[in-house]
Amino acid sequence: MARKILFITTDQQRYDTLRCNGGTVARTPVADRLAAEGVRYERAVPQSVVCMPSRSTIITGQSPSTHGVWMNGVPLPVDAPSVAEVLHEAGYRTALIGKPHFEPFLDPFNAFAENRFAGGEPVNGHRGFDHFIAATHGAAGSLAYSRFIQSEHPEVAGGFYPVLDGELEVNAMGGGETGMPQLWTNPIPKEWYHTDWCADQAITWLNGVSEEEDFFLWLSFPDPHHPQDVPSSELGRINWRDLDLPAAYPEDRLVREAILDAKPAHWRAWYDGTLVSNYEAPAKWVPATLTPDQIREFTAYNAIACELIGEAIGRVIASLEARGIADDVDIVFSTDHGDLGGDFGLAFKGPYHVDGLMRLPLIWRPSRSADIAPSVVTSPVGLIDLAPTFCAIAGIPVPQWMEGKPLPISDDDAEARKFERVLTEWDSELFGVAMHLRTITRGDWVLTTYLPGTTANGTEGELYNLVEDPNQFVNLWDDPASASMRTDLLDDLWAHQPKQLMPLRTLVAPV
């Protein structure tokens, strides 16, 4: 018997939503306990800040350049390498419960397997999973959670926020008390909401696995990704009026806009509503209209979603404890990318490689048999390192096609195994707008260089000192005193940047 693996992800969760990471809004005792008992990573970085490329990195252990899912709407080939397949072949029972998103959701031709399983098509080890039961952010579509709501509780299906508007753009309609886009009062009972439903499905599946069997369960919560439409019964948990504004939101408009003006042009252009570079944020929303109260209300709803996830994870762990196997399980908790969350007067996500989107919660609570001491790792690690970590936990050699390394268990370990840099990519070409970013996170620094695109000619960039400027307000790209650091980081970035799969895979859907 090897070590069992419970891999928990959320969607679009900021680093600072956890108390153990310094958060002050959501109460997150379950994650805090896992962190206290395990390894907490202070600089976990995604290889893409949108769902499909990032999730493809998690399952393949490869960079977007290598696995080829270069933007949302590009499916990961069904025969792409998968850590679940590796574990399955090693004898693990494998399941994915929750949000997969390796394939597009908008699928009128029913072309993608993820969208067909709930209709009765056999899973047949899809991507290495024996069991595959999917959910996303509401009750629309053909996934298992949608069918559950549509068939068992159709009266609440209309209570979710309509993620897309009548033109199938990400909806800009406002809700709540402040009119914040993608925020909504959802009357659904908590026990039918997708967070609890995913946990229920996980507990049911785990109870079908014997104590002697090894398992790899990827429990993938759709929240706290927008829309912010948590059950209305829970809204009393946090009064948004009591909340402070994010540290990276200067309330003075002139200060805020001066910070944006010192960044490459697409930052200010999106803020002003003159450029929409990507599909993932409401196209008809102008960020300059975002108010402090809207940010507060967003923060409260988002924090409630995080609390609900924490409690749901607590129930899953309790089910393992009740069977006496919780200590035999390695629990890894993370997310696919962050959320701008009001930073700089922006929200949602896009080609903006700053901490709101790039600094992620990551906790690894090893099984007791691993005898790994609790620690905090400050060296940069990537989501690309998760798949190799699962192999290491299972005692399986890391396949050559994986590009990451098993996560370090301490800073000494990180130094010994040369965890020095993490790379992040953004590529998008949508409705005539092209954006191409390459980023390196190393030591106290993060550098982004822009390849030629709609608003960039290839000379633009961003350079921030993460210690002296934790909010990334001061762009040092053109600072003469930082020129040698800029050159060094650029050289390092290009020396380690994987060759991009060409030709680019075809974009077949918006998301």
Binding site: P104, N110, E167, F431, T506, A509
Partner: protein
């Protein structure tokens, strides 16, 4: 919002006239467009039925065998505008290029249809190149 516009193309090692026999036949779209399970054709009115359960009424706008151009418009209420075009362009005696383009308002619909068009061209090529006609 701007109009959404997509274009896919593929080279098929068969003559343009051979490919046009299938690609230009309004009643046979479901034979090579994955995800379209059946269709009803009545003159210039066509309704396609998708695997996802949706049906789409269409108007056939152009079916020009000389130019080898087929053009149609989806008339679902969600579309303010739609135009789909299939061009079969000869590249020699036994080689042609098929171009499948789509323009739509709302623009997102062009992208949603795009995936189907891309897969349709792949399937058209597969079927054509499996056919018994000599490639030389």
């Amino acid at each position: 919002m701007t109009l959404g516009s997509i274009r896919h193309e593929i080279v098929i090692e068969r003559s343009a006239s051979t490919v046009w026999e299938l690609a230009g036949d309004a009643g046979r779209l479901h034979e090579w467009f994955p995800g379209i399970v059946s269709l009803d054709l009545d003159g210039t009115k066509r309704t396609i039925h998708l695997a996802g359960g949706l049906s789409m009424p269409e108007d056939i706008v152009i079916n020009d065998a000389l130019a080898r151009r087929f053009e149609y418009s989806i008339s679902l209420p969600i579309f303010v505008f739609h135009r789909g075009t299939i061009d079969v362009i000869s590249m020699g005696e036994n080689r042609c290029m098929v171009v499948y383009a789509c323009e739509a308002d709302p623009r997102t619909m062009a992208l949603i249809i795009s995936g189907g068009c891309y897969r349709a061209l792949q399937e058209l090529k597969r079927q054509m190149e499996l056919s018994t006609e000599a490639a030389n």
